[in-house]
Structures are given as C-alpha cells and as structure tokens.
Amino acid sequence: MPDTVVNLVDSPALGVLIGIAGVMAALTVNVLFLVWLERKVSAWIQRRMGPTEVGPFGMLQTIADMLKLISKQLITPRHVDKPLYHIAPVFVFVPVVAAASLFPFDEHVSLQNLDIGLVLVFAFGGLGIVGIFMAGWGSNNKYALLGAMRAVAQNISYEIPLILSTLSVVLMVNAMGDANTNGMNLAQVASMQHDKGFWFVLVQPVAAVIYFIAALAETNRAPFDIPEAESELVAGFHTEYSGMRFALFFFAEYSNMFIVAMVATVLFFGGWSGPLLPGAMWFFLKTYAIVFVMIWIRWTFPRLRFDQLMSFCWLVLIPLSILNLLVTAFIARAV
C-alpha cells in the first residue's frame, strides 16, 4: 500500500499518530461546520435567521459554543454507575474517529486503503451502540435508559438493511471487475465507477434508497430520532451528560452523519470521480450535498412512532433489500 498517508513516514507508529491527529482535527472542524449548517438550514426552512452575531453569517457561533463547552464544569450526578458513565463518551467517540480514517478522499489519497474497508466502517458503527447503551444505563435515569433501549433496538434492526443494501453494490463490483477486484475496498469501488463512467446509484437505485433510509435511522436522525425524542425523553441517552462529555456525544453524532454520507458518496455517487475540479473537492461536495439532504429531511418530516419504525424496517426494508440482493446476484450471474 504505497499510496496511503500512513505509509509516507518511515515509522508506522508515527504515521498512525499523525493520521489520528489529522482525522480528529478534520472531524472537529467538520462538526463545527455541520452544526452551523444545521442551524442555518433549519432557520431557512422555518423562516428564521439562525445564528447571525458571531462572525460572518454567524459562522463563528459554533466555535464560541465549543469554547463554552470546553470551559464548563463537568457535573457527575451522584447515583450514576461511575465506571460506565465515565467510559461511555469515549466508547462512542473512538469508533467514529477510527471509521473516518478509512475513506479514499481522492484517487490515491486515503489514510488507510484496506481490502475490508466497508466491513470495518460498519464494525466501528456497531461499536458505537455499545457506548450509547453504557451511557443510557450508567446515567441511572429512566429517560436515559429508555432512550438507550430505543437506540439499541433501532440500531440493530436498521443495521441489517444497511449492510444488505451495500452488499448488492459489493456483489456488482466483484461481478464487473476481474479476479483481483474487491468490492469491499472503498477505493476500488470509487475507481470502478470512475472507469466505467457511471455512478452506481443509476444501476442500484433501490439499494441507494434503502441505504439512505437505513443510514438516517442508524445516525438517529429525524424522522427516526426516537432515541432522543425531546418531547418525551428530555434528551435520551445523554440526558445526564454536560460540558465536554456531552460535546463528545454531539461530536460522534454529527461525525456519524458525515461518515454514512461518505459511504454513500463512495458506493453510489462515484467517490472522488468528477470533471474539472480536483477529486477531493468532488468527494466533499458530494458528501456535504448528502448531509444537506439529511438536514433538510430532519426539518421537514415529523417523527415516526416506535412501532411504525420497527415494522417499517422488518416488514418493508429488510425483505426489499434481500430481494434487491437476490436480483443483483441473478443479473451478475447472467451477465
């Protein structure tokens, strides 16, 4: 793997450290931007102004907010389950950073170019759930526990259509490529779309739609934001967290949104491929466009009821994604 940033420096440990620091810095700036974007877009949709005071268009507002969160006292409620309560934010935060380091930002630019990149992204996504549950349980608060229970049920259910929908793309890439092609390698999926000259959303529209819906649910975004439904659960699993600990949850949430958007960009929208502009520009333009749609949906649709959420997943999305996978397999075999 000569084309990865980690391998540019001589010492592997140093490379990994530089990579982690870089990813964390990039994610932090990105979260600050996304929070600002979310507030602005929601304001536009509701005919408000949004943040205007700090910096041009209020862009520095989130930096001020972050400084406030950093400087706040960390309050630990008296009857929390201390070990779980303290580990939970870390457990939510670390997998996000790890998953974010797996993407090909440009033709030969990625921190890690792994053959199992796609599976690894989902594996790290699954780890985050454990952290969410630790938080909900450790808080010793009924709203937090209810939020965590909902989050766990929702996440393990929607993980199935999420993975099945991406699997049909993997299958297709393997069928289209030669013996050395690996559909689970994110860089190869992107470059295959570049070589073939079309985006996979055109040949896998069903998978793309299923993926997008499941991704909304995986990131607990509206209309699937039941784990932290403000009107019934205060703030869900992070009710008892304040200051920087709360900020870590917030960070993970927005970064997760960005990660699922990056997966969608790579799998369905050609990754870095695009005319004129440099590849990385295209990659981030597409990713932010998908994130924008996610924000748009949040401020447009009302929240689902929990039973609706579960039955929609098990009765509609999972059968549909299995059907899509089967059809893809048959076509891949026939062609």
Partner: protein, 179 residues
C-alpha cells in the same frame, strides 16, 4: 510473540476475569466485550484482519448488544443471593474440566508451533475464506445457518407466548381508530 500480542492477550484475560468476577451483570457483559475486542485484535495481529473485523461486527456489535438487550428486558440485574458451595464446586468442576479437555484436544491435534501458517500471504483473505466456506466447508456452513434459524424460531415462540398473555385483543382496535 511481539509486544502487541502480549498486550492483547493480557487484555483478553483481564476482560474475562472482570466478566466472571463482577457482581453487576452489565459490568460483566462489558468485561466480556473487552475480551472479545482483544481477541479481535489478536486476529488482526495474527494476519487476518477480516476475521478480526467480523469478530468486532458480530460479537461486540451483535452478541454483546443482544445480551445487554436481554438484561434490559429482564428485571433483576444485580443478584445478592448467596450461592450454595455445592453449586460453586460444580461450576468450578465444569470450568476446569472444559479447560483441560480443550487443552488436550489442542495438544493432541498436533498444530504446528509458532504463528507462521496464518501469516502466509492471502491464506486468510476474504476471497479464500469465502471459497472455503462455500466450498469445502459448505455442509458446516449450512448446518450453522439451520442452528441460527432454530434460535430465531425459538425466540419468536417465547416472545409470542408472553405477548398473548400480556396484551389481549384491544391492541388491534386502537390501531383502527388511529390509522
């Protein structure tokens, strides 16, 4: 054996000790999660990142979460009841017997010493694993899926019976009034 392997092995043992010694069931489950993560790390160090990833995806992200979920749905989390010495002795007997049995099988199998076989290039790649799973070990693979199917059916049977007792007919009527 590199320092990394030693560290991961120590982590795995520490997590396992936590899992069996902690009184709170949830703490024990998270101890188990540490063990499973460390084992995943061992797989990666031994040259099979794919199996390691699957370990994280299935065991940490799936099994642990399912166990946590089961605990969540039951009412008793912390047991304070004293266990009878006989039960402890029985458990110790089973545990030691199992460890000795597995040890004997491993020694008897005559596995090659060292880490070399797993580190052969591509021996554990996704493609190789897939080919052998659906080729040489096809029957085992299918039997495993039947076992999983049985587990699912069992879960449905258990939950159905409770549902019939707890919620009688009115649920459907509510559904009709609020379409």
């Amino acid at each position: 054996m590199g320092g990394m392997t030693g560290l991961l092995m120590a982590l795995a043992v520490a997590g396992a000790l936590l899992a069996v010694s902690l009184k709170n069931v949830l703490h024990a489950i998270f101890g188990l999660a540490v063990t499973l993560l460390a084992v995943a790390g061992l797989f990666v160090v031994l040259g099979s990142p794919f199996v390691g990833t699957m370990q994280v995806l299935i065991y940490v992200g799936g099994i642990t979460v399912a166990m946590v979920f089961a605990v969540m749905l039951s009412t008793v989390v912390q047991t304070h009841q004293a266990e009878s010495p006989w039960r402890r002795a029985g458990a110790a007997f089973v545990a030691v017997g199992f460890a000795v049995g597995v040890g004997l099988v491993i020694i008897g199998a005559g596995l090659p010493k060292g880490l070399a076989p797993a580190l052969i290039e591509d021996a554990w790649s996704v493609r190789q694993l897939g080919t052998s799973l659906l080729g040489d070990y096809n029957v085992v693979f299918e039997v495993l899926s039947v076992v999983l199917l049985l587990a699912i059916i069992g879960a449905i049977v258990i939950s159905r019976r409770e549902e019939d007792v707890v919620t009688p007919a009115p649920a459907a009527a509510v559904e009709e009034t609020h379409p």
